[in-house]
C-alpha cells in the first residue's frame, strides 16, 4: 500500500499540464527509468549467482549430453547418441532399479517409523525433549562419519552387529559384502540418518493441531487410534506430503554413503544413479554419457517437484485461523 502512495507523491512532484519544458520531461523520464530499474538492480546479485552456479551448469550439462567428450580431447557431436547408448545399456536399468528400490524402501520405512515415533514423542515431557534431541543427532553428523561408523558396525568379522547376532546365537550377516544384502544395509543407514529430521518436523506439525479437536474427540469417547486417523493424520497431511517429497528427492540423490561404504559394489548391487554419474564422469571420463544421466536425474526430480507444487495448489487447508 505504502508503495502506491509514494508513487503518487513522486508523480505529483512534476505537474502533469502540457506543454512541459524539455529539461523537466527528460528528468521525469530518467526518474521513471531509475524507479523501474531499482528492483532489478536489487535482485541482480542473487540472480547472477543463481545463473552462474545453477542455470549455467544445467544448460551446460544439457548441451554436453549431446557430445562425446573426455574433458581434454576434442568434442564430438553425437546428438541423442548418449541417450540411445544409455537406454540400450542393461546396466542402466540395473542402476535405475537400485535407485528406485533404495528410494522406495528408505522413504516408506523412514516416514512410517517417523510417524510412530512422533506420536510417541509429541507429549511435552522432559524425557521426550531429551529423546527428541537424541534422535536428531544422526541428522547433524556428517555423512562421512556416519558411513565410516556403520562400515565398522557392519564389518562381517569384527563388527558390533555380528557380535551381537553371535551372542544371540544367530549366524553373522555379511552386511556389505553379500550382493543380496548390501542394498538393505544401505537403506538401514539412510533411514537411521534421516529419521530424526522427519520426527522433529512431524512432532512440530502435531503440536500445531488445535487441542480443542482432541478435547472434543475425548468428550465423544473416541478411541486413540480413531483420533489418530481422523484428526492427527489429516491435520498433518500437508507436512507429511512435503516430507515425503523431500525424502524422495534426497534418496534419488544418494551418493556419499554409496561411495564411502561400498563403492557401488558388490557386483553393482548398490550402484545408484548419482554414483554411476560420478563413475562415468570422473573415473571413465565419459562426460557426455554422464551428462545424459544427469539430465535424466534432473527430469526425475523435476517431476517430483512439479507433483509437489501441483498438489500444493490443490490441497485442502485444515485448521489454523491464518
Amino acid at each position: 500500500m505504502g508503495n502506491r502512495e509514494m508513487e503518487k507523491a513522486m508523480d505529483a512532484y512534476v505537474p502533469l499540464e502540457l506543454p512541459m519544458p524539455k529539461a523537466v520531461a527528460i528528468q521525469k523520464l530518467l526518474r521513471r527509468a531509475a524507479r523501474a530499474a531499482t528492483p532489478y538492480i536489487m535482485v541482480a546479485p542473487a540472480i547472477l549467482t543463481l545463473c552462474v552456479f545453477v542455470v549455467y551448469p544445467i544448460l551446460y550439462m544439457v548441451w554436453l549430453s549431446a557430445y562425446r567428450w573426455d574433458m581434454i580431447g576434442p568434442m564430438v557431436y553425437v546428438g541423442f547418441g548418449n541417450f540411445a547408448e544409455l537406454f540400450s545399456n542393461p546396466d542402466f536399468y540395473l542402476v535405475m532399479g537400485n535407485t528406485f528400490k533404495f528410494m522406495f524402501l528408505t522413504v516408506s520405512v523412514s516416514i512410517v517409523l517417523a510417524l510412530l515415533l512422533a506420536v510417541y514423542l509429541k507429549a511435552n515431557t522432559r524425557v521426550n525433549a531429551l529423546l527428541r534431541s537424541f534422535i536428531f543427532v544422526p541428522y547433524v553428523i556428517s555423512m562421512v562419519s556416519v558411513a565410516f561408523i556403520w562400515a565398522w558396525l557392519m564389518n562381517s568379522e569384527y563388527g558390533l552387529l555380528n557380535f551381537m547376532l553371535g551372542k544371540a546365537g544367530m549366524s553373522g550377516v555379511r552386511w556389505l559384502e553379500d550382493a543380496g544384502v548390501a542394498m538393505y544395509s544401505m537403506i538401514i543407514v539412510a533411514v537411521w540418518k534421516g529419521l530424526g529430521y522427519n520426527v522433529i518436523i512431524l512432532v512440530s506439525a502435531m503440536h500445531a493441531i488445535p487441542n480443542q479437536l482432541y478435547e472434543a474427540a475425548a468428550l465423544d469417547n473416541t478411541r486413540p487410534l480413531r483420533a489418530f486417523f481422523r484428526i492427527t493424520l489429516p491435520m498433518i497431511s500437508p507436512t507429511l506430503f512435503f516430507l515425503t517429497l523431500m525424502n524422495i528427492i534426497a534418496a534419488f540423490k544418494v551418493f556419499d554413503q554409496v561411495a564411502l561404504m561400498t563403492g557401488g559394489g558388490p557386483v553393482n548391487a548398490t550402484n545408484t544413479l548419482v554414483f554411476d554419474i560420478y563413475q562415468f564422469g570422473f573415473k571413465f571420463y565419459q562426460l557426455g554419457y554422464a551428462s545424459a544421466q544427469g539430465v535424466l536425474l534432473m527430469l526425475l526430480i523435476a517431476v517430483c517437484t512439479a507433483a509437489y507444487f501441483g498438489a500444493l495448489s490443490r490441497r485442502v487447508h485444515y485448521g489454523g485461523g491464518a
Partner: protein
C-alpha cells in the same frame, strides 16, 4: 622492493659475469603437484625444499609443492587446469594415465631433454620404464614406484610348522593356506578384489589382463579362469577370505588382528607393515608373489611429467627439477623415506642404501622381484572401465559364490558390447 631487487640483480651481473643472465634477472617460479599425505607428502615437501636450497638456487629456480589429493583427484584437477589454461609445471602422474594425458597433449615429450642431457635410461629398472613411454617417446621418468609383494606373518607360519621364508609356487601357496587354517585357525590369505594384484596373477600365468595391443580384455581367457578357479577353491574350503570391493582397509583389520597369515600388498606399505607388526607383536616377512608358470608383477605408483602449456624458460626450468628429483641421490632419499622401490641401479650402489638393506632385508626382496620380473600396466584410457568390471567379477566369484564360466563370459561380452577399449 622491486627496485632493490633490480639493483641487486644488476650488481650480481656486474660482479660475476659468469652467472647465467636469465637466472640473475628473475628466478623462475614453478609449481609442482603431488598426491597423498603422511610420509609421501613429507618426502615431496622435503625434496622440493632441498632443491630450492641447492640446485634451484644455482639455477634461479624456485619450486612450490602443492598437495592435490589422491591420484584420481590430481588427474581431475590437472584436466580442469588444462582447460582453464593454468597447469602446474611439473606433476606426479599415476602410471596407467600417462598415455591418456600424452595423447591429448597435456604433457609433453621428455625425449629431447633426455637426449640433450644424455640421461642414462638404462640405469632405471626396465619394468619401471614401460609406463614412461608412449609410442616410442619418453613422457615421464620413474619417481615413486612400487610393486606388489607377498607379506607373511612369520610368527603364524612358524606356529603352523611352515618355512617362514614363504611359498615359492602356487601349489605351495595352497598347501600353506591349508596348513595355516588347520593348525592356527587363521586364514591363509586375506585378499580383496584388487585388480593390481590380479595383474600379477595373470603375469605369472604368462598372460596379461589386456591383449598386447590393449584392444581386448583377457577376462574370459583360460589363464583368467584358472586364477579365478584357484582362489575360489581356496575360498570355498575356508582357507582364504576375500573381502568384496577395492578398498584395502578391510584387509588390514585381518592383518592387525593376526586373523590372516599372508596378504598381498604394495612395497610402498613396507615401512607401515613393519611398524604394525612391531606394535602388535608379530614378525613380518616378505617374498616374491609365488610363481605359476613364472614369477611376475606389475609396477605401480607415479612418474614425474612435464606439462605442455608453459613458456620455454619455465619448461627448461621444470626439466631441471625433474632431472634432479629422479637422480640417484634423491631417488635414494625417496626410497628409504617412503618404502617405494629404488628406481635406478645406481641407487642400490649407494652406501646408505646398502646399509638399509642389511638392516631391513625385506626391502631387498622387493628390489630383486622388480629387477627380474617387473612389468608395466595397461595404458588404454578405457582400462578404468574394464577394471571396474574385473573388480565386480572378483566380488561375484570370490565373495558371493557366483559361477566362474557364466560370470566371466558375461563380463567379457559387456566389455566388448560397450566398446570399453575402443577409441572413444
Amino acid at each position: 622492493m622491486k627496485k632493490a631487487f633490480v639493483l641487486l640483480a644488476l650488481l650480481a651481473v656486474i660482479a660475476s659475469p659468469a652467472v647465467l643472465p636469465a637466472a640473475a634477472a628473475a628466478p623462475v617460479d614453478l609449481t609442482f603437484w603431488y598426491s597423498w599425505t603422511d610420509k609421501i607428502q613429507e618426502n615431496n615437501i622435503n625434496l622440493a625444499k632441498m632443491f630450492n636450497e641447492t640446485r634451484g638456487k644455482e639455477l634461479g629456480i624456485r619450486v612450490t609443492a602443492e598437495y592435490q589429493g589422491t591420484y584420481d583427484e590430481l588427474h581431475q584437477k590437472l584436466q580442469a587446469a588444462y582447460v582453464a589454461g593454468k597447469t602446474p609445471s611439473v606433476t606426479v602422474m599415476e602410471i596407467a594415465s600417462v598415455r591418456r594425458f600424452a595423447e591429448s597433449g597435456v604433457i609433453m615429450p621428455l625425449s629431447p631433454y633426455i637426449e640433450r642431457d644424455k640421461i642414462d635410461m638404462d640405469d632405471f629398472f626396465k619394468g619401471l620404464l614401460i609406463n614412461c613411454n608412449v609410442g616410442g617417446t619418453w613422457y615421464g621418468l620413474p619417481y615413486l614406484r612400487s610393486t606388489p609383494i607377498l607379506y607373511m606373518n612369520a610368527t603364524l607360519l612358524k606356529r603352523a610348522g611352515l618355512d617362514p621364508s614363504g611359498p615359492k609356487t602356487w601349489d605351495e601357496l595352497a598347501e600353506y593356506c591349508k596348513a595355516i587354517k588347520e593348525k592356527t585357525g587363521a586364514y591363509g590369505i586375506t585378499l580383496n578384489s584388487d585388480i593390481w594384484i590380479f595383474e600379477a596373477f595373470m603375469l605369472e600365468n604368462g598372460a596379461t589382463t589386456l591383449t598386447p595391443d590393449e584392444s581386448k580384455s583377457n577376462i574370459n581367457s583360460p589363464e583368467s579362469r584358472h586364477v579365478f578357479a584357484f582362489f575360489k577353491d581356496l575360498v570355498d574350503k575356508g582357507y582364504v577370505r576375500c573381502v568384496a570391493g577395492e578398498d584395502y582397509g578391510k584387509v588390514f583389520a585381518d592383518i592387525m588382528n593376526q586373523k590372516t597369515a599372508m596378504f598381498f600388498d604394495s612395497t610402498a606399505d613396507l615401512t607401515y607393515n613393519l611398524e604394525l607388526a612391531r606394535e602388535n607383536g608379530y614378525e613380518i616377512n616378505t617374498c616374491f608373489i609365488p610363481s605359476k608358470k613364472t614369477y611376475g608383477v606389475p609396477t605401480g605408483g607415479c612418474n614425474l611429467v612435464l606439462t605442455s602449456r608453459q613458456t620455454d624458460r619455465e619448461r627448461d626450468a621444470a626439466w631441471e627439477f625433474i632431472k634432479w628429483m629422479t637422480d640417484s641421490k634423491q631417488a635414494a632419499y625417496a626410497h628409504s623415506y617412503t618404502g617405494y622401490v629404488a628406481t635406478r641401479r645406481s641407487v642400490v650402489e649407494l652406501p646408505e642404501i646398502r646399509t638399509l638393506y642389511k638392516e631391513t632385508p625385506q626391502f631387498k626382496v622387493a628390489l630383486d622381484q622388480l629387477e627380474q620380473y617387473g612389468h608395466g600396466r595397461p595404458m588404454n584410457p578405457g582400462y578404468a572401465q574394464v577394471m571396474v568390471e574385473w573388480t565386480a567379477a572378483m566380488d561375484a566369484i570370490w565373495s558371493n559364490g557366483a559361477d566362474i564360466g557364466s560370470t566371466l563370459s558375461a563380463a567379457d561380452a559387456k566389455i566388448t558390447r560397450m566398446n570399453m577399449l575402443g577409441a572413444k
